[in-house]
Amino acid sequence: MRYSFPELIISTLSSQLRDGERVFTGVASPVQMMATFLAKATHAPNLLYFTILGTVDPQPFRLPYSTGSPHLFDRCANAITFPEIFDLANRGRMDVAFLGGVQIDKFGSLNMSVIGNDFSRPKVRLPGGAGGPLMIRSFKRVISWRSRHSQRCLVEQLPFTTSPGWISDLKGQRHGGPDVLVTDLCVFKFSRTTKHFHLESIHPEIDLDTVKSQTGFLFRTPRRQAITREPSENELEILRRYIDPNNIRDDLLGSPKVIQ
């Protein structure tokens, strides 16, 4: 079955979620929201979804562009407040956070703050790390999504660490960081034992050299290269018909390149 690149990304993110997990999406995360809706509608019916507005298991009548849209209140199981999501995580009650970074380094640390050496007068002022610096370790798992995989984004070392990844130079500290990093080229997984990213799969029609040349850090590659699983017919049907009938996904994820 034919599918588009946005459909592949949403399906890939969705497949990272497990049934029964409590999942949080933050600010400006509509792709992650669609992936969460897709997981809940397919393999993870008991997933519990928390948005940044505090709505739990929202079922909006129309899919909003914003994860902060008040339409996420339209129909929902119940609700809670923003700090209470952190509270839950602090008490070990939250599973998955989607956290993004404008830059990501080899330990999975995220930069959402500044580019440049002078924090008080940076070359580029980024939007800020929201709840990331704590969520990256208070949630059991973190999944990152990065469009535009490039050496500028995936770097050896960050100029500024907003949310620390799997660095291990602080004694007595809990660790945190992304377990999964999905980009527009591939899927990386982080090994908590080796403290390295390894390539889990490459998206269809992408080759390994492209991934290597676009990545600013070294990563391990398996002996036999896997291709990212394609969206199933059922996933595509649900995504197209029920979750995103107005095709917001193409607006959000750029050119709707069709993959055979």
Binding site: G68, F73, D74, R121, V124, R125, G128, R137, P164, L170
Partner: protein
């Protein structure tokens, strides 16, 4: 403050409650129920030296910064999504990159907990360890401390926030000043109202005492210093069950905000060029009515 004094003109209220140099907490999140009428009135009043504490509500912050009202902003995320994609906050970014304002970046939970501490009247509060973040290098007011009950459990100590004034746009108030924010779980708004020393609320409508119906009061009257009726007071952002976000006008703003000159023109046309929020709404058109969907 006597009940009858709570409803008055927005301009008067800003004059009284938001002097130059105030620390202002701005409610609202992303493009949802930002207190835009109050923000515009602060710009019209040409306030200077404000210290902002913000939720992730970039549009309000960006305009206040662009208009030169701000000397410092404490924040943790500024930007939002519309149907035109991700909206970066350009006047904020430009002001920080030029070193014109102090950008006190924090972490969402740290700000929330600082407000909880402010609401409780305690001077500081511990939050879980997030060492490894460089934010701790740029925030020298955040301290590392181990728990007195377990030397291995490290915490980050955050000082209480008690901003001078809260800006909030809500649905309804009664004539005593009881405020209803018609969302399913507005409790943290109460906490921020408790943390702030003065509370300024704009509302869509003011009803007689006893006419709030079965709505649960979000902020009780004794915490509220001023209520001003401003229909569409959150526009061009949305208000739950009332009106939709105006993505088109936000696009106009975002295009203007690309340059200082463009922003100055926006300011002249849409803020200084409008005597009040009613004139602004006349100019941009009423927001679309809320659509609950099929």
């Amino acid at each position: 403050m006597p009940d009858s004094g709570k409803e008055t003109s927005l301009n008067q209220v800003i004059q009284q409650l938001v002097p130059d140099g105030s620390q202002v907490y701005c409610e609202g999140i992303l493009a949802n129920r930002l207190p835009m009428a109050a923000v515009h009135e602060i710009i019209r009043a040409r306030r200077r030296g404000l210290r902002l504490v913000s939720a992730p509500n970039g549009l309000a912050i960006d305009q206040l910064i662009g208009a030169g009202c701000v000397e410092e902003v404490e924040f943790y995320f500024l930007g939002f999504m519309t149907n035109k994609g991700f909206q970066a906050m350009r006047r904020f970014r430009s002001a920080v990159e030029a070193g014109r304002i102090r950008a006190k970046e924090s972490m969402g939970y740290a700000v929330c907990m600082a407000l909880r501490a402010g609401a409780y009247g305690i001077p500081f509060i511990p939050i879980p360890d997030f060492r490894g973040s460089d934010l701790l290098n740029v925030r020298d007011d955040y301290r590392i401390m181990s728990s007195p009950y377990n030397p291995d459990e490290m915490t980050v100590i955050v000082p209480a926030l008690q901003p001078d004034v809260l800006l909030l746009h809500a649905h309804t108030a009664d004539e005593h000043g009881n405020v209803v924010l018609d969302e399913p779980w507005p409790m943290f708004t109460l906490t921020t109202a408790q943390a702030c020393q003065r509370v300024l609320v704009t509302v869509e409508e003011v009803v007689e005492a006893g006419k709030l119906g079965s709505s649960r009061i979000t902020i009780p009257h004794f915490l509220v210093d001023a209520v001003v009726k401003v229909p569409f007071g959150a526009a061009p952002t949305a208000l739950n069950k009332r009106y939709e976000v105006d993505d088109n006008h936000i696009a106009v703003y975002q295009e203007s905000a690309k340059t200082a000159e463009g922003f100055a023109q926006y300011l002249d046309e849409y803020i200084f060029g409008c005597t009040d929020h009613e004139a602004f709404i006349d100019k941009i058109g009423q927001p679309r009515e809320w659509i609950r969907g099929s």
